[in-house]
């Protein structure tokens, strides 16, 4: 985009763009603002896509990605609001002004050609990009940052519904697919391209005519119309013929698929679906050569590295039925997750004030004051709670707790602005999970009812979780079986595992944050217990959690800023950044291995000549150390992450090293959770 300088980080760029949009919005330049919002969204999705596509180097932190997505969501809300405002899409204004000069007789031709809107866009684009290019936001960023204090109420820290609506999720999926594969044009599309060219030459010629040559002008117009019409009719005929042929082929292939499954008469819906999918695969293979080539290669040289190459190639072909099915399942699951995870946390019903809603209300100037009042009624319902919230937020916010919004015209984008400034202000490593977690229910009489409602809600959430986990398993199974149907050569035990791993690696990343959010909602109490234990033992030494003294350095003070097992702690902290269960498991395994390596090193400090056999670390030593590492990791989310991993770990890994490490991790976490009750029995010096 015009404003994207390469030196800046994507988030900063996106914020710059959004600020420009807000400014335009403020100046009532609806059309430009609309475009700029869209451009921001476009930029964000592009940046994230690039990030996601290049798995190797993770430049962006999870927090940053989450913020980008939230920013995009807010921009989208604003952009949506313009649709309600102007009946005509803003695009048309620009194009109509430019085309109105040409004669009215071309409108029919224009309508014919309008199956693709490209000419409009090209005329509209220059006028739109100008404001974006020459009003970079310098003057914006200086003073108004102060408005950041306003976020206090409406924002629950990290819980501002960071999730894209399912429609956007789906659109992102398809954008991704368009990136990877350039589709061939249909005859109609081709014709309309051709017609656009015709029209362009017609306009050029027309411009060269002198005003006196009216006759030539009419004839040119007529011939243009005729040509365009003809092109379209021919294209239509070709398209029909093509479609008929495709239909015939489809039927033929479907029969072939049916033969292959040659089951008894009664078919379940799943079998039916599988047949259709298999027919799609056959159809795809008629149109593409690469599956045949790969199959031949595999036959010639069956090699395990070839298998993963094949699967990753397959998954990069966005028009292959396997990939289509993958996207369909992802969308389905996201669609199920979204309504649950986009809602606020169950404990504090009045906290998740959705900013987008208030923006919606602010669309029309006459209702400008409304959201503000709804704001204050919301908080006045439970003043104690909102107060608590204030005190719970970081210090900067607490300095300026009064949220009396001054009614200026900037209020209309308060939330988006707020969001932006918040991004400006947020310290790079602010934990997103601190939010309202320690806001205990206040002592008002309604608490009992609330706790009952909460109980029901928790139960419902658990049910949802179970159902979604099951859906995910089914989805992955289906993907695997379609994969194996498409490439029979993959159907051996070891290849299948590889295949499954690749599928999961493609399947989980877009969904993980939503999945883990659901797990976090369900395991909220456990996370809170973990946090309490964590705070209680914040400065505990390894000895305090039962690590024998031979397994940590004798002189802790000499470590200077570091602490024992720090490398393992750092490793474990990376766990939340991965988006695929398998990778997370590997992270846990690495953590435990690092623990063993550290322990070995520390033991050598104590006894130089001990024989390694008797001294090797068993679970008796490992678990206390792991508990210490979990405490130092300071990440309650681990509880939910591990619970999710427990659901998605492969059966084959269950009894192996991965399974052992996950189990150990889970018990260490559970031990930390139990510290809050055990804490009362501990001698005071251990509580620090």
């Amino acid at each position: 985009m015009a404003t994207a300088d390469s030196g800046l980080k994507p988030l900063q760029n996106a914020m710059k763009m959004a600020k420009t949009a807000i400014q335009l919005d403020g100046e009532n330049k609806h059309k430009e603002a609309y475009c700029e919002y869209l451009r921001t969204i476009n930029y964000i999705s592009h940046a994230l896509l690039e990030e996601a596509a290049s798995q190797k180097e993770k430049e962006m932190v999870a927090v940053e990605v989450e913020r980008m997505l939230r920013l995009a969501e807010q921009c989208l809300e604003r952009a949506k609001s313009f649709i309600g405002k102007n009946v005509d899409p803003p695009d048309l204004h620009a194009s109509s002004s430019s085309s109105s000069s040409s004669s009215s007789s071309t409108t029919a031709a224009a309508a014919v050609a309008s199956s693709s809107s490209e000419p409009h866009q090209t005329t509209a684009a220059p006028t739109n990009t100008v404001p974006a290019a020459d009003s970079p936001v310098e003057q914006k960023s200086s003073s108004p940052t102060k408005t950041g204090h306003r976020r206090v109420l409406s924002d629950g820290g990290g819980e501002l519904s960071p999730f894209l609506p399912p429609e956007v999720f789906q659109r992102l999926q398809t954008v991704a697919s368009q990136d990877t594969s350039k589709k061939e044009l249909t005859p109609i599309e081709e014709a309309s391209r051709l017609n656009q060219k015709l029209k362009a030459t017609y306009e050029a010629r027309l411009a060269r005519l002198t005003p006196g040559q009216a006759y030539q002008k009419t004839s040119l117009t007529l011939s243009l119309q005729r040509q365009m019409m003809e092109n379209l009719i021919i294209a239509k005929a070709r398209q029909d013929a093509l479609q008929r042929k495709m239909e015939e082929r489809r039927l033929r292939l479907q029969e072939e698929a049916n033969r292959r499954f040659a089951a008894s008469g009664a078919m379940t819906a799943e079998e039916q679906e599988q047949r259709v999918l298999y027919a799609n695969v056959l159809e795809y293979e008629q149109d593409h050569d690469w599956p045949k080539q790969w199959k031949a290669n595999m036959k010639k040289n069956p090699d395990i590295t070839l298998v993963s190459d094949l699967v990753s190639y397959l998954l990069s072909r966005s028009d292959h039925p396997v990939v289509k099915l993958l996207r369909k399942h992802q969308y389905r699951i996201y669609n199920r997750l979204y309504p649950i995870v986009s809602k606020g946390l169950p404990q504090s019903p009045n906290m998740p004030l959705r900013p987008s809603r208030s923006i919606h209300n602010l669309l029309r100037p006459e209702t400008q004051r409304k959201p503000i009042s709804s704001f204050s009624t919301d908080s006045s319902l439970s003043p104690s709670h909102s107060h608590e919230l204030n005190t719970n937020c970081d210090e900067e916010e607490a300095e300026e707790p009064q949220t009396q919004p001054t009614v200026d015209r900037e209020n209309s984008f308060e939330d988006l602005e707020q969001f932006l400034t918040q991004l400006d202000w947020a310290p790079p490593h602010s934990g997103t999970d601190e939010t309202g977690s320690d806001s205990e229910p206040t002592g008002d009489p309604s608490t009992q009812d609330e706790s009952h409602v909460q109980e029901l809600e928790n139960k419902a959430l658990k049910e949802h979780l179970k159902a979604i986990v099951k859906d995910i398993h089914i989805a992955i199974e289906q993907l695997l079986s379609l994969c194996l149907l498409s490439f029979e050569c993959l159907n051996t035990a070891s290849y299948k595992d590889l295949c499954l791993a690749s599928i999961e690696e493609a399947f989980f990343p877009p969904l993980w944050s939503a999945i883990v959010t659901l797990f976090r909602k369900v395991h909220r109490e456990r996370e809170q217990a973990f946090e309490t234990g964590m705070k209680l033992y914040r400065d505990a030494s390894p000895r305090d959690v039962g690590v024998p003294s031979k397994l940590f350095p004798p002189d802790l003070i000499a470590l200077q800023g570091s602490y024992p097992y720090e490398s393992a702690v750092q490793e474990l902290k990376l766990l939340v950044q991965d988006c695929c269960p398998q990778r997370k498991l590997e992270c846990i395994v690495r953590t435990l291995r690092l623990i063993c390596a550290c322990a070995e090193e520390y033991r050598c400090l104590h006894e130089a000549d001990s024989s390694p056999k008797t001294a090797a670390i068993g679970a008796d030593d490992l678990l206390p150390i792991l508990s210490f590492v979990a405490l130092r990791c300071q990440c309650p989310q681990l509880v939910s992450e591990c619970a999710a991993l427990g659901e998605f770990i492969h059966e084959g890994y269950l009894i192996g090293e991965e399974g052992y490490c996950l189990t150990s991790m889970q018990s260490a976490l559970a031990y930390v959770e139990s510290l809050q009750t055990a804490g009362t029995h501990l001698p005071a010096h251990k509580l620090v």
Binding site: G546, L592, R593, C596, A597, A599, E600, P612, K613, T614, A616, I617, G618, A619, D620, L622, L623, P624, G646, E647, E651, G652, L654, I655, G656, E657, Y660, C661, T663, S664, Q666, S667, A670, Y671, S674, A678
Partner: protein, 225 residues
Amino acid sequence: MAAAAAAAAASGGHSGKTYSFKVVLLGEGCVGKTSLVLRYCENKFNDKHITTLQASFLTKKLNITGKRVNLAIWDTAGQERFHALGPIYYRDSNGAILVYDVTDEDSFQKVKNWVKELRKMLGNEICLCIVGNKIDLDKDRHVSVEEAESYAESVGARHYHTSAKLNKGIEELFLDLCKRMMETAQAEERIKGNGSSQSASSRRGVQIVDDEPQATPAGGCCSSG
């Protein structure tokens, strides 16, 4: 989940090629279970790889009567405060080795508690081994051989005496356990193969029988079924 994983372990055997067994190691802090298992997997530790999980998690590949067996040995923490988390360790286990110190009466009591818990949670599916370790310190013995053996028999477990220090009885212990786990898996396969007509009762029968006779006669009876 538990059922699925158990099935996975059994299905390894179904192919007739490789059995995968999970064995948990239970025992109080100082009974020497770590040394025991390290002794057993010693070869692995001679080329001390720093990347392993040392004695907490070990694997061993065996070949028993022509069948390949992969053993995954899970050590557990003996400390009381981690006991609540036992179940997640021993779920889906095919076998359990419960170690006590022959010089420590208390550690034997702990073993009894575990046996109760395991039987309660996993039924008779799991092969139990009760192991009196440190027989090199026999002069300080506080748990009598008779008591331990009769207790083991009463709960359908087998009893072994070992010394990690002298490398005594360990090989036999694991070999025996593997054979028993194979029998259990084979019995399970048969039941699956025959459909669900003969259900848990017959499975249990096999389990109890295999307390007495050794692998070969049991195998003979298997082939007829």
